[in-house]
Amino acid sequence: MCAKERSQVADIDRSLYDFTKSEEGSERLDAGLTPEIVREISARKNEPEWMLEHRLKSLEIYHQLPVPDWGPSIEGLDMDNIVTYVKPPTEQKSDWESVPEDIKDTFERLGIPEAERAYLAGVGAQYDSELVYHNIQESVSELGVVYSGIEEALEDPKWEAIIREHFMKLITPDDHKFAALHGAVWSGGSFVYVPAGVKMDFPLQSYFRLNAKGAGQFEHTLIIVEEGADLHFIEGCSAPKYNVANLHAGAVELFVRKGAKLRYSTIENWSKNMYNLNTKRAVVEDDGVIEWVSGSFGSHVGYLYPMSILNGAHSTCEFTGITFSGAGQNLDTGCKVVLNAPYTSAHVDTKGISKGGGIQTFRSSVLVTEKAEYSNVAVACASLMLDDESRSDTIPAMDVRAEHVNVGHEASIGRIGDDMMFYLMSRGISEAEASTMIVNGFADPVSKELPLEYAVEMNNLIKLEMEGAIG
């Protein structure tokens, strides 16, 4: 039986994410970051003048802002060597058959078309700097739901006005250095508009694949969920591993209107040469709900703290996250919550695992403003150390400025208990299986929140990471 189990572990296709396709036919701009390159990206997109201005201003801000000194080192990232724009050899399609074979094969291996047929209301697929596929089910678009490339939406004057009103208003270029970088060179990403009252039964999914070596991906996702509407959005990402640094500095801006609900799920599995410096932010109006489900498994260095701004009374935020940091990884993840209206509540539950010399940091900030009377916050984070080479830090910060509130925080760090291992092994389970079992149990609250397919993917990722973890 053991042998059988082992072979199951080995059966996981290691090449699932780590395969490279030829870059033939792709157009690469020069590496580095200059106004000329920014102008060229803009010119290729035929975008409105205000957007070019926004890009150039962002670039200026980028050069002014300091590199963060509180997180993992990003010294290995030399912006002069990063190619900010790589156009794949195709235009955006709405049927997989028209997508070039290599690219289609990529997404097929990642299971995207299959998932689309099975349970998604719409799919967007980005390859390097541009979307190569975007499609939404007719029944959904008939309800007035818009799901398209953000540049595509910019071409329609109606949506251009709305995008202009929202684009980088939540994440402003002066927020931090990499938000400014994003503002300068962003490319691709999705625009979603769910009209008032529309409750979507099936999720939308965008998948981001970075194939080009030494390149950066800077997609922008803008989602507006109108009053009383309901959306589940899934984001996936991966890249093959190269021996040079790649960079991801996307931005996600979410607007959740009165009584609306948005669930935003991410399984991040960038390759381990990736610098993932991503920014995500949601603003929620009265009675609105934002739910984040966030799994971080990949990247060499990660900075990721989805932020929820609860601006409306009775709005809520739920954040469920897991970070698994293995050899060569330094993942600094967590979340930020701002409670800025009465009767708001936030519930944060995160798990961190570190092994093989990996560094895992949970970092959070909770701000309860003067306006947030009668609000509640509960933060729980647990970290599991799988060996004594690894590191796990917990750096939560709370700032409370209201009186009638309850803010609770609990955290724990430790390793798998000897008694637990002994118990399982006394039942004939091998050490490796037992620890995988325990780690899966540890991660369970997160996988429970994921759609089944993603929960399976996450469990596979954990198995992969756990292989060789023991003795």
Binding site: T394, I395, A397, V400, R401, G408, H409, E410, A411, S412
Partner: protein
């Protein structure tokens, strides 16, 4: 004599977002005169070796000079690589400022095996326009016991700085209990800086009570270096008026099976503001170490501001680290219980404020500390507090 200056202090070892404005404190210090003889008083129990410096710089009694210095040098030599200097909670700049301001110094050696529990008393009385600072070095040699009472008070009106810098070496199997109470009126600045080193099976137990001052800064670092060494801190504070309270705790757990417990309980009233940074650093090699940290903050006014940053750094797998924080109202279970005895929610909150003074008064080292607590209690809580004390 000090010159006007601004120093950065109480910086936490692993910082976070600068926008949070909690990584460190910036202290604006005015130009101050040197304190005179009355500001700092030491009472050293018999049988301890000590060296005391008078206000003129004369060494009053130097019988203990050589052994105390030697003991410190030994301790430093024994410290692991990387420990270049004695780490204190407020950091180098503040430590240097306090060191320069301290006109009276005391170094005390508790000889090996000395277990008589007489208390070493350090009294600091704020002086108008001056920096009243004591510098104290304590060495508790192997298997000895030492109790220390530190009282920072302002018996007369005025403004200025009052505080101390204290370094403690806790030898093998030794036990040092350090209780400090600060009862400054709302015109003073308070700076207390502690750095401790705890050897095998040593215990450093600190109780810190911060009740007053316009601005109060407490830095506390303990190098829990020895096997089965322990540091336990119990902090109580009350914020009132517009005062600012700033704590920085840094516990380095280096020792195998070392333990640490940080507990803080506070009440914030009026428009007071408080920051508490608590870092437990579980250093590689500290197998079997356990570090715990817990803070409860009761907010009783809408204008208060509380920042809590409970950090655990962990570079070892065979450890247990835990922290918890509860900020806001009295927990429902406690409130429910107290209501069954006739107290309204508001009265329960008031009770917590009164209780902070009560606790400090009933645990006061002596009558003068108790009188100072009651004086401040009456000043802060008004006649209601004085009436409560009637007949006691």
């Amino acid at each position: 004599m000090t010159t006007q200056t601004a120093i950065k202090a109480n910086r936490m070892p692993a910082i976070t977002w600068h926008k949070f404005k909690g990584n460190e404190a910036e202290i604006e210090l005015p130009a101050l005169a040197a304190h005179d003889a009355g500001a700092v008083a030491f009472t050293v129990p018999p049988a301890l070796m000590f060296m005391e410096t008078t206000i003129n710089g004369d060494v009053a009694l130097d019988a203990g000079t050589a052994p105390v210095k030697e003991a410190f040098d030994e301790a430093l030599a024994a410290a692991p690589e990387g420990l270049q200097q004695w780490e204190t909670g407020m950091g180098e700049a503040a430590d240097a400022w306090l060191d320069a301001a301290a006109k009276r110094r005391l170094a005390v050696l508790v000889p090996e095996g000395h277990t008589e529990e007489n208390t070493l008393v350090i009294r600091i009385q704020a002086q108008d326009g001056a920096a009243a600072v004591a510098a104290v070095d304590l060495v508790a040699q192997a298997h000895s016991r030492l109790k220390v009472a530190l009282h920072v008070d302002s018996p007369t009106a005025g403004s200025g700085v009052a505080g101390s810098r204290v370094r403690v070496f806790v030898g093998e199997g030794a036990r040092v209990e350090f209780a400090s109470v600060q009862t400054l009126d709302a015109t003073w600045q308070h700076l207390d800086n502690i750095g401790a080193y705890v050897a095998d099976s040593g215990r450093f137990i600190a109780e810190q009570t911060v009740l007053g001052a316009a601005e109060s800064y407490t830095g506390f670092a303990s190098n829990v270096a020895g096997r089965e060494a322990d540091t336990t801190v119990d902090t109580r504070y009350l914020g009132h008026g517009a005062n600012k309270i700033d704590f920085n705790y840094v516990i380095r757990q280096r020792g195998v099976q070392s333990t640490c417990t940080l507990t803080a309980n506070g009440v914030l009233m009026d428009s007071s503001a408080k920051v508490l940074r608590g870092t437990i650093d579980l250093i590689h090699g500290a197998k079997g170490a356990v570090g715990k940290e817990n803070e409860t903050v009761l907010l009783v006014n809408e204008d208060v501001r509380n920042k809590t940053i409970p950090v655990i750094l962990c570079d070892e797998d065979d450890v247990q680290g835990a922290h918890g924080a509860t900020i806001g109202h009295v927990n429902p279970e406690q409130l429910g219980y107290m209501k069954t005895r006739g107290l309204s929610a508001e009265q329960v909150e008031d009770l917590f404020a009164v209780a902070t003074f009560d606790y400090a008064a009933s645990h006061a080292f002596d009558a003068s500390v108790r009188a100072a607590v009651e004086r401040l209690g009456t000043r802060v809580l008004g006649d209601a507090y004085e009436l409560l004390q009637e007949g006691e």
